[in-house]
Symmetry: C3
Subunit: 148 residues, 3 copies
């Protein structure tokens, strides 16, 4: 398992963490399997979407704010219930397929850490599991053989 720290900007933000995901998969030595990207914070989430146009993540935050407005008669005294709601709507984790030692992402896909009540210093974890018995990682030998 690999753990990463990031700093989010503004009250709500989507941070592209695709690079860290690639890094964690490479460090695992797993060639064929799956990777879980996990957010341990209850006002945060993980999502996959387009980042070629920065207006896409911006529009996602804008739409989520309409879907779960900050003020809406909530009871939670901390006043950030909308952030908790968004966390459950988007979800605290995503999985991607690991193929040839890399995340099998679509052409337009990036992986984002979402913070809905920032700015904050945050963590996320990546766990990689092999689909084959004799992965390099499991043998403790890195980069010797490639599963196909």
């Amino acid at each position: 398992m690999e753990s990463f720290e990031i700093s989010t900007r503004g009250h709500e933000s989507l941070v592209d963490i695709t690079g860290q995901l690639r890094e964690a998969i490479e460090a695992s030595g797993v060639e064929d399997g799956l990777a879980l990207v996990y957010c341990p914070h209850t006002t945060g989430a993980i999502t996959i979407n387009e980042n070629a146009d920065p207006d896409v993540p911006r529009d996602i935050l804008y739409a989520l704010d309409k879907i779960a407005p900050w003020q809406a008669g909530y009871r939670h005294t901390e006043g950030n219930s909308a952030a908790h709601v968004k966390s459950s709507l988007v979800g605290s984790c995503v999985q991607v397929i690991v193929n040839g030692g890399r995340p099998l992402l679509g052409t337009w896909q990036s992986v984002f850490f979402c913070e809905f009540d920032g700015p904050r210093r945050r963590r996320f974890q990546v766990q990689v599991v092999s689909a084959t018995k004799d992965s390099s990682r499991n043998l403790g030998v890195k980069g010797v053989s490639k599963e196909t």
Copy 2:
């Protein structure tokens, strides 16, 4: 795989199932891997959020009811389309990382079973997969060695 039964209260409810998740992970003998928590019901879901203040799960249900109101011109004759919609919004499963034989949850995170058309007697399952070849489980020897 472990299977659990629960009874939900009221028409909509979030039931904390973190204890059952810990139990299932312990029973698997897996020290390092991931756990899938799965809801086999189409008006239910699984989510991760805060349970320190019971107003957080209450606010989540309140917000979901605004997002997908019970009456909204649906066609499905059973009349519970809003519950099906919420099931797809929240999602029928979550994964958590298993680390040192325990779920790697954030400080404020609990795992919830959600029922959006209750009260009902419901089931959910937990499947645990090891990230290492020589887990206690895989060797059929429990608790002998710990992966690090």
Copy 3:
């Protein structure tokens, strides 16, 4: 890993892909584990819900259109931000438990590929991971022994 191609109909659609999921699990030879169903497109998603009454998937699309309307003051110049938002709300993947070589679905559950900006020719992938060391797949011997 298995890859599948489908054609979606209409601007928004839910396509039942449960058959392909069963096929991919069977091809993997895994008896006890989990399967990840992954959508590599940023205007698509994967969800699990009821398909006994075709009005359920129809109501889900209808509700999602109210939750994230097509026109809502978005900035993204391609004009399909609502589809990206729905993709993040529903999520780009689901996992199911593999039990006895089959997906452990609830009585009313089907797995759907969702397209929110179609019609399009689309792909999705299924990755299966074993929960036991000596799965048929891992031994490279298919159908010889069954884990229980």
